[in-house]
């Protein structure tokens, strides 16, 4: 039901009022999505625990859930009428004296009601096109985006202590002129990152209050919370938030991967016969075509052929499951990978840019000796709909030669922001002309290594700050008149950090290096967070005694490291820059970080949330 929501008819003030409500709704929805995601993850873990290991032979007489062998007379087990698997007496949940279900079937039903899916299923009877998620609010926010005469600003959390400088009523925020100077896209981007951050950090109330409070001068409080969170973070303990299933998954192996929902039968099918379906769960796939790395093709170390031909594929988004599907039908008229030998063994590789890590990679099977291959494969990504706007689909065709020799045959890049996923006619197969790689060498060098979520503010001494700041602005930024202030940078954590396959986790920490105009460097380090694949440090860097004018010409390098034991050197994981970066002759592809730096400096005593893209080129960062 693509019922377009047109808001042009609202008066501006009314729009602002509605917008405020929509923003609050967005937060509620994000919280809910996060909760549902966790529920499903727990369910998946439970299934994995029970799923038979491929290397083990299927033993007839063992419990399908805990693998305990079953006796012939004693503890014979019984068949669950949900999934038809034989389970032992300990893996049952009694619903009433006459009825029981195995732990997985029970958890499945439990998740279904807890996630509210029963409602979406019922609703789908009347509105078959309606997704599993609430889309009204999102649609409305989108239509706001289209309105040029109103700026979409991230909802600023209201302060708990009212301060004079930032009377943060949302409506006032909307009037602030600086927001009008930016393009709506920028604002919306920062809005979504803001929301993402909130949904990331909402695991406990302490995190939340970091985002919503602290407009006053209670740095003390902040420090206290930090020390508490430095030690108390453990993914495992967070996962087990629901007591009813907590008992069920004890012993389930810990995994931080995001999981797809599917009923228990399907899941076991996949595990026992990996070829039957190729669903990918954010980087994890149950198929066979998962190469360990693509170093040869990633670093430009590959052969080049003349690019010819076309590729036929279809893209669609399954709202119900939250999965992006790319159906690759085939190619025609490809160039030969090895022209002299007239050889071509094509395959298709897909990345969901900007993520270039292996978790974003999907590949089809290799077709032998053809320039008109037919693949008929569907590659899938589990991704939130709201994220698609910032992604590009890179679909490239390669020739697989002998000994890992790869030849690039052409690619198509589709920006998903402009793709209309709600229009079913856009889901049909189309032919696309293959193109040569864009000649952007720096693009190949600067690799995406996840994101760093930070919040920064410039703390200006309380006395008369407004006056001083205005005066300073008026008098043309004279450094000597500028007050001495404090730059505070809260490093929350990372997203999509590349994790070495061998270890699975990291002992990571963050270094902050503030480079002042005179090339002086102020360095700080966060504590090491041990054995976390997705570290959340919540560490506050404080740079004292700097002036606003100085900061205007300074930049802050934030780098993430994997702490090495036994004296070997720490491993660089990624770095990001905030502020001016001319000193290295290196320009960030997106100037977002520069803009955000300006925003921090121009709004003293206000926290600005920033999602920094981490880059893998170590030499560009001081640490």
């Amino acid at each position: 039901m693509a019922c377009e929501l047109n808001l042009n008819f609202l008066k501006e003030l009314e729009r602002e009022a509605v917008l405020e409500v929509l923003h609050r709704d967005q937060m509620v929805r994000k919280t809910e999505e996060e909760r549902v995601r966790k529920l499903k993850m727990q369910l998946q873990q439970l299934r994995w625990k029970g799923a038979r290991n491929m290397s083990h032979e299927y033993q007839e007489r063992s419990c399908a859930r805990c693998h305990k062998s079953l006796g012939l007379l004693m503890n014979r087990g019984a068949v669950c009428n949900g999934c038809s698997h034989r389970v032992c007496s300990e893996c049952r949940v009694c619903l009433n004296p006459y009825l029981w279900k195995c732990t997985v079937c029970y958890a499945h039903g439990d998740v279904k009601i807890k996630a509210g899916e029963w409602f979406f299923e019922e609703r789908a009877k009347k509105y078959p096109n309606e997704g599993r998620h609430e889309t009204v609010g999102a649609k409305l926010l989108k239509s706001y985006q289209k309105l040029s005469n109103i700026s979409v600003v991230p909802p600023t959390p209201p302060p708990f202590t009212e301060s004079t400088a930032g009377s943060n009523v949302t409506v006032n925020e909307l009037h602030q002129t600086k927001s009008f100077n930016k393009s709506v896209e920028n604002l919306f981007l920062s809005f979504t990152t803001h929301i993402k951050k909130i949904s990331k950090s909402q695991n406990d109330m302490a995190d939340r209050s970091l985002l919503t409070t602290d407009y006053g001068q209670n740095v003390e409080k902040r420090k206290e919370r930090r020390s508490q969170s430095d030690t108390a973070i453990n993914i495992a303990s967070r996962i087990k938030s629901t007591p009813s299933r907590q008992q069920l998954i004890t012993g389930a192996q810990k995994s931080s991967e995001i999981l797809t929902e599917r009923n228990c039968k399907q899941e076991e099918d996949i595990i026992t016969s990996p070829a039957s379906d190729t669903v990918f769960c954010e980087g994890r796939r149950h198929g066979s075509l998962y190469s360990l790395n693509s170093t040869c093709t990633e670093y430009g170390n590959f052969g080049k052929a003349d690019v010819t031909g076309e590729i036929e594929f279809a893209i669609r988004y399954v709202f119900k499951a939250g999965i992006l599907e790319i159906s690759i039908k085939g190619c025609k008229n490809l160039a030969y990978g090895e022209e002299k030998k007239k050889k071509c063994n094509p395959y298709v590789k897909v990345y969901l840019l900007p993520d270039k890590s292996p978790r974003s990679k999907r590949k089809t099977a290799v077709k032998k000796s053809t320039v008109d291959p037919e693949f008929h494969e569907t590659l899938k990504y589990k991704i939130e709909y709201s994220q698609l706007g910032s992604r590009q689909l890179q679909i490239s065709v390669w020739h697989a030669g002998a000994l890992k020799y790869r030849v690039f045959l052409g690619e198509v890049v589709i920006p998903l922001a402009v793709w209309n996923f709600e229009d079913s006619s856009a889901e049909s197969f189309s032919w696309y002309q293959l193109k040569a790689k864009l000649e952007k060498p720096e693009d190949n060098l600067v690799q995406y290594s996840g994101e760093l979520l930070v919040s920064a503010r410039l703390s200006v001494p309380a006395q008369d700050k407004n006056f001083q700041f205005e005066k300073w602005m008026r008098e043309g930024k004279k450094a000597q008149e500028a007050p001495s202030c404090q730059l505070q940078v809260m490093v929350f954590g990372t997203k999509n950090l590349p994790v070495p396959r061998s270890a699975g986790t990291l002992n990571s920490f963050v270094k902050g290096c503030l480079i002042l105009p005179d090339q002086a460097e102020v360095k700080q380090k966060s504590p090491v967070l041990k054995k976390e694949a997705c570290p959340q440090w919540k560490h506050l860097f404080v740079f004292d005694g700097v002036s606003q004018a100085q900061l205007q010409q300074s930049c802050l390098h934030l780098t993430v490291w994997d702490h090495a034991s036994f004296g070997s050197s720490d491993r660089f994981l990624g770095g990001a820059t905030l502020g001016e970066k001319e000193s290295f002759g290196f320009t960030d592809p997106d100037s977002q970080a520069v803009l955000q730096w300006q925003e921090v400096l121009s709004s003293p005593n206000m926290w600005t949330d920033i999602a920094l893209v981490l880059h893998s080129n170590k030499e560009n960062f001081k640490s």
Partner: protein, 252 residues
């Protein structure tokens, strides 16, 4: 319009993930029957006699403990959208309706109200339950109930749970709609019925709790019918074993 204080409250509540179910409830009814007051009484236990018309939509979040489960309620108030008599759902209702071309609505107090329709009707589809409210001192609001009910049937899912609530039952002196009339209409429409007062805090909690219970019942039913392989029998005994609270129409 929600003030900064309200949104702060909302955010605090909304960030909490510690609950078992999330239900969305929509309160509808003519302008000034007391929908927002009803919501504020329930969510914040506050009451302001001054009338502030809701712009478009608003909501509050409240987490309750019911039937051994923590249930997060997102309660929406639809503002200033009177129903159109004989409304029909038009596929792809993209343009805002032109007020002049519409049949006169019995309760349209400003022409501007129509403009919100596209926003609010969009929210019907996400709501699991409805509170349809009229004002016992306002005949017109009672007469509009039928239209509102049609609106629910048109825009909402088939199993939408509806409670009919006659608000302002503290104003017995000005009553124009008798309890009996209200009960009969509710029976006719197949809804459960309460008389309540947001001002004196009569039956407010009961109304919401009853609605939550009905939604819970629907939830276990839908599991039974939709997925027998998984559920086998009554799913969630914790829900169905619980007895519905004694039905109380009006305490005044």
């Amino acid at each position: 319009m929600a003030s900064a204080t309200d949104s702060r409250y909302g955010q605090k509540e909304s960030s909490d993930q510690n609950f078992d179910y999330m239900f969305k409830i929509l309160i509808i009814g003519n302008s000034s029957v007391g929908k927002t007051s009803f919501l504020f009484r329930y969510a914040d236990d506050s009451f302001t006699p001054a009338f502030v018309s809701t712009v478009g939509i608003d909501f509050k979040v409240k987490t309750i403990y019911r039937n051994d489960k923590r249930i997060k309620l997102q309660i929406w108030v639809s503002g200033r959208v009177p129903p159109r008599s004989g409304v029909r759902l038009r596929a792809g209702c993209s343009s805002p309706p032109d007020p002049s071309s519409l049949p006169p609505s019995p309760s349209q107090d400003t022409a501007g109200q129509e403009r919100y329709r596209t926003i609010t009707t969009a929210y019907y589809r996400g709501a699991m339950g409805f509170i349809l409210m009229y004002d016992i001192t306002n005949e017109e609001s009672f007469n509009a109930v039928q239209d509102w009910s049609t609106q629910i049937k048109t825009y909402s899912w088939d199993n939408a749970q509806v409670l009919l609530v006659g608000n302002k039952c503290d104003m017995e002196d000005e009553r124009v709609v008798s309890s009996e009339k209200g009960r009969q209409l509710a029976e006719h429409l197949g809804f459960e019925f309460f008389e309540a007062s947001a001002k004196d805090n009569i039956n407010v909690k009961q109304t919401f709790e009853r609605l939550v219970d009905i939604i819970c019942e629907k939830m276990s039913e839908s599991l039974d019918t939709a997925d027998p392989a998984v559920t086998g029998a009554k799913q969630g005994p914790q829900l169905t074993d619980q007895q519905a609270p004694p039905h109380q129409d009006c305490a005044c």
